[in-house]
């Protein structure tokens, strides 16, 4: 008897999402503006002492199923890449002071999501990066698709 196919394999696209959390502090300030302007635009986010969030990051990788495993790839690998490329850079850091990318760029959720894409996209060991979703609070999040 012919051996049944164990997994759906081939060209079908599968999206795998991994969720991790990190905590970091930041503040919003544009040095080209007056104190009054900064206060007007950024409100209490302009406090130079900073404040923090428990960010929730959802990373989605797209690809096709490996017929040998039935999986897109090794999700432990993805977790390890996230740990090494993203969490080590951002977790328990003061984003404005300790992350080079934010020395001259305001660490808003929009800019953090784009930075995470940059850190991660070329480091994946399987699939291709499809989406970065970053929750600043449960009621506020951004999505970035790399374009």
């Amino acid at each position: 008897m012919e051996r049944p196919e164990l997994f759906y394999a081939g060209a079908a696209m599968i999206y795998l999402t991994r969720r991790v959390e990190f905590s970091a502090s930041h503040y919003y300030h544009n040095p080209q503006w007056t104190a009054v302007e900064n206060q007007r635009v950024f409100g209490n986010c302009d406090n130079p002492h900073g404040h923090g969030h428990n960010y929730v990051l959802e990373v989605t990788v797209a690809g096709s199923i490996n017929p040998a495993t039935g999986m897109l790839g090794d999700s432990k690998e993805l977790k390890a890449r996230l740990e090494q490329e993203v969490l080590q850079v951002l977790d328990h850091k003061s984003l404005n002071h300790e992350v080079a990318a934010f020395a001259a760029k305001i660490p808003t959720s929009e800019n953090i999501a784009m930075e995470i894409w940059k850190l991660l996209a070329s480091k994946l060991t399987f699939g291709s990066l499809h989406q970065i979703r970053l929750y600043e609070t449960p009621d506020l999040f951004v999505d970035y698709f790399g374009e």
Binding site: Q32, W33, V41, I106, P107, T108, E110, D139, L140, E147
Partner: protein
Amino acid sequence: MMVYLTRRYRFSAGHRLHNEALSAEENRRVYGKCNNPNGHGHNYVLEVTVAGPVDPSTGMVCDLTLLDGTVEREVLEPFDHKNLNLDVENFHQRVPTTENLSVEIFDLLRKRLEDSGKGP
């Protein structure tokens, strides 16, 4: 470089699903217990997504104060703790289903955000 920003809001409202053009029996068949003449209510969760490039001077897609203020004025004030059929003019002649509510909110917000010139 397009970023999508989503903000979640909540409101509670009452409604009744009923189409004047249908018979009482048809209304009951189509809308089931949502056709109860005395109405019923929900805790609605509204997610509003705005898309655009990131403004380099603010690092943001859209002025959040503007978005919050617009949603508060255009949606939450007229809808929250209201009877949608009786208290919201656009639903006097239109069934306040979630579908119609979504379209109504989209139109209200898009117009205001575009008019402000500061939106996404």
